[in-house]
C-alpha cells in the first residue's frame, strides 16, 4: 500500500490545525469552562496519614452547613474499586497520604471547602513503610494480605538461555540506576463534571485520553451498562500518559451528583493536583549485560523494582512495557527480566510521559553506553553495530516491517558533528547519544486494539469524520483530516472532525500506547476508502470507465492519465445524492492489529545531546539536541516537529529537573513553582531530522511519534552528562546536587 512520496497531494504538507483558530481566540471549551444550571462544587476529604485505621467519620457538622447538598462516605461507595483492589472510599484503613475518605458537594467552592473541613475523621495512626527495599523485608508492615512481602505484582521472563549467554561473553557489565517519583504536570488541572441526575444515566465531562475505557470503568463501578454512561471530552489539556484511567474523583463526582440530584464539578485545588493522580514512583533498575569482544551485545538482564505505592491499579502494565524493551533495540536472543511492583505507603504510582519505558531507557541507555566504553567502542559505533534493522522479529514477537534506527543514528551523528566532538570537547562539555523505539498500538494490553471511523460527505463536497480518538493536543483530529483528504482527493480544511461524545463516537480504544495515528489513522483511511468507492461508482458510470481507474485528487475525479476529463469532486457527490437512487455518501471503516498480541509497527529514533555542566553548581545546560526519528511517514511535518519539541522538553525536564520530593509519604513540593520544570530560558536548539521508512502497515506509511522521541532524550542527555563529567550520574533527575556529587 505504500505510495511514493511524489504521488501524495495532501499528506506530508504543513497543514494548520483544524481547531487552531478556536484555541488561539479562547473559544475552545475545556471541562472547567462547563457551566450547568444548578451545578454544585465537590470537595474531597483525604487522609493526612500514610497509614492509619479509620476510627470514625462524623459528617453531621458538614451536613448541617447551609449550602451543602450532599455528603458521601464509604457506605455510599460500597463495592466501587479503583483498579484491582483499592476501595474508592475505604471503611477501615487508609494506606497513603491523600487516600480519599469522604466527599461533599455544595453551592460554591468555598462552602464545599468549609464543609470538607467540618467532616471529622478520627484516625489511629499505624506503622508505615515508605521505602521499597524496607518493604521487601520480612519484618515490614504488610499492606495487603495477598501480596507476600509486599510484592503486589511480579513478572519473570526468560528468553533463550541467559546464563549460558553470559558465560560466553568476553565483557560483562553490571550497574544500578534509580529514577524518582514525578508528576505529569499538565497545564489543565484534573477536573470532571458529573451529571447523574437522571436515574441510571451518567453524563460526564472530563479530559481524557480514552473515552471508551473511562466509559467502561464508570459503568462497571456504578453498575450501569456502558451505553448509559456518556463521556463528553471537549478539549483535553494534555495527557502525557496521566489521563488513561478513571480516578477516584470521577466516581466521587458521580456519586455526589446522584445523591444531590444536581450536576457536580470536582477540580483539583493547588497541591491536590499531585494527589488526584500521582505519576511515576521510584524505580530501581539492576542491570547486567554482556558482549563478545567483537562488540556484539549478546544478553541483557534487568531486575526492576517499582514503588507501586499502596495499591496496584493498572501499574502492572509497566512490567509488560519494560520487559518488551529488553530486545526492542538490539537483536539479542537471550534476556532475563524480573519486574516487581512493591507496595509501600506512598501514593499509588501511575504513569508519566514515557510510560515507564523512557525512564527505563535512562538506565539501560546509560548502562549500554558504559558497556560500549568497556569494549573500547565509541557509542555511536556500538549502536550502529548492534542496532536492529527492518525485518527483525523481537523476543516477544513484534515484527519490524519498517525500521530506520540505523539511518537515524547515522543522520543524527552526522548532523551533530559527533565525530569532531566526541572525546574532543573541553572539560565539562559533553556529547552523548540515546536511541529508542516505541510501539504504535496496544494489542496485547487489550484483547482488541480497534479504532473505527465514519465519514459522511455532504453535497457541498465537505466531509464530516466521526472518530473516537481524543485530541489532547497531539493534533490527531487534523492528522485524521489529512489522511481522509488524501484518500478523497480534497483538502483537510474540507473536513470537520467530530469526536468527544461517546454517544456518537465510533469505537476507539483511545489515545495512548501511541495507537492514534496508526490505528485510528488506518480506520479513517478505511472509512474514506469506503466513501470513495461509493463516489467512484457514480463517476465510473459518468465517465464510462472502470472504477479502479479513477483518481481522486485536487478536488477532482478523473481516469488515471486523463485529467482533462475530470469531474469536480463536489459534482460527483451531488450527483450521487440527487440520483434516482438518492444514495447518501457514508463511509465506515475500522482497524485492529491482525496479530494476536503485539503491535504492527514501532517508531525508532536516535538523539544526540550536547551539554555544558557548571562544575561549581552542578547545573546542566542542554545546548543542543539533534533529533532523528523514523516516523514512517510525516503526515504533517510541522506537527511531527511539535511532538519532537514537546518530548525533548519533557525528556529533558524529567532527566534534569522533575522530582516529587517525598517525606513521610507526602510530596514536599506539590506546586508549579517548586516542582521543577524548565521554561523558555532553558530550552536548547533542536535540530529535527524526520526519517521516513514508509511502513507497509501504517496509513500512508505513518507510525507513531507521540512517545518515541522522549525515550531517546533521557539517555541522550544522561550520556552527555556522563561525557562531560567523566562519570555516570545514575539517578534521575540529574539535579545539580547529584551532578555536583559526581564531580566532587
Amino acid at each position: 500500500m505504500s505510495a511514493k512520496k511524489e504521488e501524495l497531494s495532501v499528506v506530508g504538507k504543513n497543514w494548520s490545525r483544524l481547531d487552531g483558530v478556536d484555541k488561539v481566540s479562547g473559544r475552545s471549551i475545556f471541562t472547567d469552562d462547563v457551566r450547568l444550571p444548578g451545578m454544585l462544587y465537590g470537595k474531597i476529604v483525604r487522609s493526612p496519614h500514610p497509614s492509619a485505621r479509620i476510627v470514625s467519620v462524623d459528617t453531621s457538622a458538614a451536613e448541617a452547613l447551609p449550602g451543602v447538598k450532599a455528603v458521601i462516605t464509604a457506605a455510599d461507595a460500597q463495592g466501587i474499586l479503583i483498579g484491582m483492589n483499592q476501595p474508592l472510599l475505604p471503611t477501615k484503613f487508609v494506606k497513603f497520604v491523600g487516600h480519599e475518605v469522604a466527599a461533599v458537594a455544595a453551592l460554591d467552592e468555598a462552602t464545599a471547602a468549609a464543609a470538607a473541613k467540618l467532616i471529622k475523621v478520627e484516625y489511629d495512626v499505624l506503622p508505615t513503610v515508605l521505602d521499597m527495599t524496607k518493604a521487601l523485608r520480612d519484618d515490614a508492615p504488610q499492606l495487603h494480605q495477598k501480596a507476600k512481602r509486599n510484592v503486589g505484582w511480579e513478572e519473570n521472563l526468560d528468553y533463550g538461555d541467559p546464563d549460558a549467554a553470559f558465560a560466553a561473553c568476553d565483557v560483562i557489565r553490571e550497574g544500578e540506576y534509580v529514577t524518582n517519583p514525578s508528576h505529569n504536570c499538565y497545564a489543565e488541572y484534573h477536573v470532571c463534571v458529573a451529571d447523574f441526575t437522571k436515574a441510571g444515566q451518567l453524563t460526564m465531562w472530563t479530559p481524557t485520553q480514552t473515552a471508551l475505557l473511562f466509559q467502561k470503568s464508570l459503568a462497571a463501578g456504578l453498575k450501569l451498562s456502558d451505553s448509559d454512561v456518556r463521556l463528553l471530552t471537549l478539549n483535553s489539556g494534555g495527557g502525557f500518559t496521566g489521563r488513561t484511567a478513571t480516578r477516584p474523583h470521577h466516581f466521587l463526582a458521580a456519586l455526589l451528583s446522584r445523591k444531590a440530584g444536581r450536576p457536580v464539578r470536582i477540580r483539583a485545588s493547588g497541591d491536590e493536583e499531585f494527589t488526584m493522580c500521582h505519576a511515576g514512583g521510584k524505580v530501581i533498575y539492576k542491570l547486567k549485560s554482556g558482549a563478545t569482544k567483537d562488540g556484539r551485545l549478546k544478553v541483557v538482564e534487568a531486575d526492576l523494582l517499582f514503588d507501586s505505592g499502596a495499591y496496584v491499579e493498572s501499574q502492572m502494565i509497566v512490567t509488560l512495557l519494560t520487559s518488551r524493551y529488553l530486545g526492542a533495540l538490539y537483536p539479542i536472543q537471550h534476556a532475563r527480566y524480573r519486574g516487581r511492583l512493591v507496595h509501600t505507603n506512598n501514593q499509588p504510582y501511575y504513569f508519566h510521559h514515557g510510560g515507564g519505558i523512557a525512564q527505563f531507557q535512562f538506565a539501560l541507555g546509560q548502562h549500554l553506553d558504559g558497556l560500549a566504553q568497556d569494549l573500547g567502542l565509541d557509542p555511536v559505533e556500538f549502536n550502529l553495530l548492534n542496532a536492529v534493522e527492518e525485518g527483525h522479529t523481537t523476543l516477544e514477537g513484534s515484527h519490524y516491517a519498517s525500521c530506520g534506527l540505523k539511518e537515524c543514528i547515522e543522520k543524527a551523528a552526522a548532523k551533530s558533528g559527533w565525530k569532531d566532538k566526541r572525546g574532543k570537547l573541553p572539560k565539562y562539555k559533553g556529547i552523548g547519544i540515546g536511541i529508542g523505539a516505541m510501539a504504535s498500538g496496544a494489542k496485547g494490553l487489550f484483547k482488541h486494539d480497534t479504532s473505527a471511523a465514519f465519514v459522511k460527505i455532504a453535497d457541498d463536497g465537505k466531509a464530516t469524520l466521526f472518530i473516537g480518538l481524543p485530541d489532547m493536543g497531539q493534533s490527531s483530529h487534523t492528522t485524521m483530516a489529512i489522511i481522509g483528504a488524501e484518500v478523497l482527493g480534497i483538502t483537510p480544511d474540507d473536513f470537520q472532525v467530530v469526536s468527544g461524545d461517546t454517544a456518537s463516537d465510533p469505537l476507539d480504544v483511545g489515545a495512548f500506547t501511541q495507537r492514534g495515528t496508526f490505528n485510528t489513522g488506518n480506520a479513517t483511511r478505511n472509512a474514506c476508502l469506503d466513501a470513495r468507492e461509493q463516489l467512484a461508482a457514480t463517476a465510473a458510470r459518468q465517465l464510462d470507465v472502470d472504477a479502479d481507474r479513477l483518481v481522486f485528487r485536487d478536488h477532482r475525479v478523473y481516469p488515471d492519465g486523463e485529467p482533462d476529463r475530470a469531474i469536480p469532486f463536489k459534482k460527483v457527490v451531488y450527483d450521487t445524492l440527487h440520483s434516482l437512487e438518492g444514495r447518501f455518501v457514508m463511509g465506515r471503516g475500522f482497524y485492529n492489529s491482525p496479530l494476536k498480541k503485539g503491535t504492527m509497527a514501532y517508531s525508532f529514533g536516535a538523539q544526540i545531546a550536547e551539554v555544558t555542566v557548571d562544575p561549581g553548581t552542578g547545573v546542566v545546560t542542554v545546548d543542543r539536541m539533534t533529533v532523528a526519528h523514523d516516523v514512517g511517514r510525516a503526515i504533517n511535518p510541522r506537527i511531527v516537529e511539535g511532538q519532537i519539541d514537546g518530548q525533548v522538553f519533557s525528556g529533558m525536564s524529567q532527566a534534569l529537573y522533575e522530582e516529587c520530593v517525598m517525606e513521610n509519604g507526602q510530596i514536599m513540593n506539590p506546586s508549579r513553582l517548586d516542582y521543577k520544570m524548565p521554561r523558555a530560558f532553558e530550552m536548547p536548539e533542536v535540530d529535527h531530522i524526520i526519517v521516513e521508512t514508509v511502513d507497509p502497515n501504517g496509513p500512508f506509511g505513518a507510525k507513531e511519534v507521540g512517545e518515541g522521541p522522549i525515550v531517546c532524550t533521557m539517555p541522550a542527555i544522561a550520556n552527555a552528562v556522563a561525557d562531560a563529567v567523566g562519570r555516570q550520574v545514575r539517578e534521575m533527575p540529574m539535579s545539580p546536587w547529584r551532578v555536583l556529587r559526581a564531580i566532587q
Binding site: N14, S16, R17, D19, G20, V21, D22, K23, V24, S25, G26, R27, S28, I29, F30, D32, D33, R35, N184, C185, Y186, A187, E188, Y189, N235, S236, G237, G238, F240, R267, S269, G270, M472, G473, Q474, S475, R638, I639, E641, G642, D645, G646, Q647, V648, F649, S650, M652, S653, S671, R672, L673, M677, R679, A680, F681, M683, V686
Partner: protein
C-alpha cells in the same frame, strides 16, 4: 463581608458588577462575566494560564489580583485580542508556527506575548524567554512558542512599517 459595586472595563466594554473582596479578577471574568477564555490553573501566579493584560498592556496573573482593586480600571483578555474577525498577528503566528497543541495554556501565552510585543516589536531572544518565563507550556516545551513570538514581532514590525 459585603459585596461592593465596581465598574470594570473588559475589552472596551464597561460592566457594573457586585463583587466580594475575596474574588480575584480571574473569578470575576470567568464566573460573573462568563468569559472562560482566560483559564484557571495553579491560582498562585506560577503557571501563567490566567494571564490578562492590564491598563498599560502589561501581563498580569489574574488569579493573584483582587477584582475589587480594578474598580474604574480596564483589562484586556484573550477574547479581546482579535481585531474584528481578523486574527491578531500574535494569534496568526502561533497558528502558523505550530505553537498550539492542547490549547489550555494558549490564551495565557498569547496575552503574555502580546504584552511583550505591544511595547517592543524587536525583542531579543532573552527578552522573549524572560517574558515567557512566567508561563508554562507542557506540550510544546516553549520551543515553537518562542519561534512564534519572533515571527509575530516580525509581522508587527512589517505592519508598523507599512502604516508609516
Amino acid at each position: 463581608m459585603h459585596k461592593q459595586l465596581i465598574k470594570l472595563t473588559v475589552n472596551g466594554d464597561t460592566h457594573e458588577l457586585a463583587v466580594a473582596p475575596n474574588q480575584t479578577l480571574l473569578d470575576v471574568l470567568r464566573n460573573e462575566l462568563g468569559m472562560t477564555g482566560t483559564k484557571r490553573g495553579c491560582t498562585a501566579g506560577s503557571c501563567g494560564v490566567c494571564t490578562v493584560n492590564g491598563e498599560a498592556g502589561e501581563a498580569i496573573c489574574s488569579c493573584l489580583t483582587l477584582a475589587i482593586e480594578w474598580d474604574g480600571r480596564a483589562v484586556t483578555t484573550i477574547e479581546g485580542v482579535q481585531e474584528g474577525s481578523e486574527l491578531h498577528p500574535v494569534q496568526q503566528a502561533f497558528l502558523e508556527y505550530g505553537a498550539v497543541q492542547c490549547g489550555f495554556c494558549t490564551p495565557g501565552l498569547i496575552m503574555t506575548a502580546k504584552a511583550l510585543l505591544d511595547v517592543n516589536t524587536s525583542p531579543t531572544e532573552d527578552e522573549i524567554s524572560e517574558a515567557l518565563a512566567g508561563a508554562i507550556c507542557r506540550c510544546t516545551g516553549h520551543i515553537k512558542v518562542k519561534k512564534a513570538v519572533r515571527r509575530a514581532a516580525e509581522m508587527l514590525r512589517e505592519r508598523d512599517a507599512a502604516a508609516r
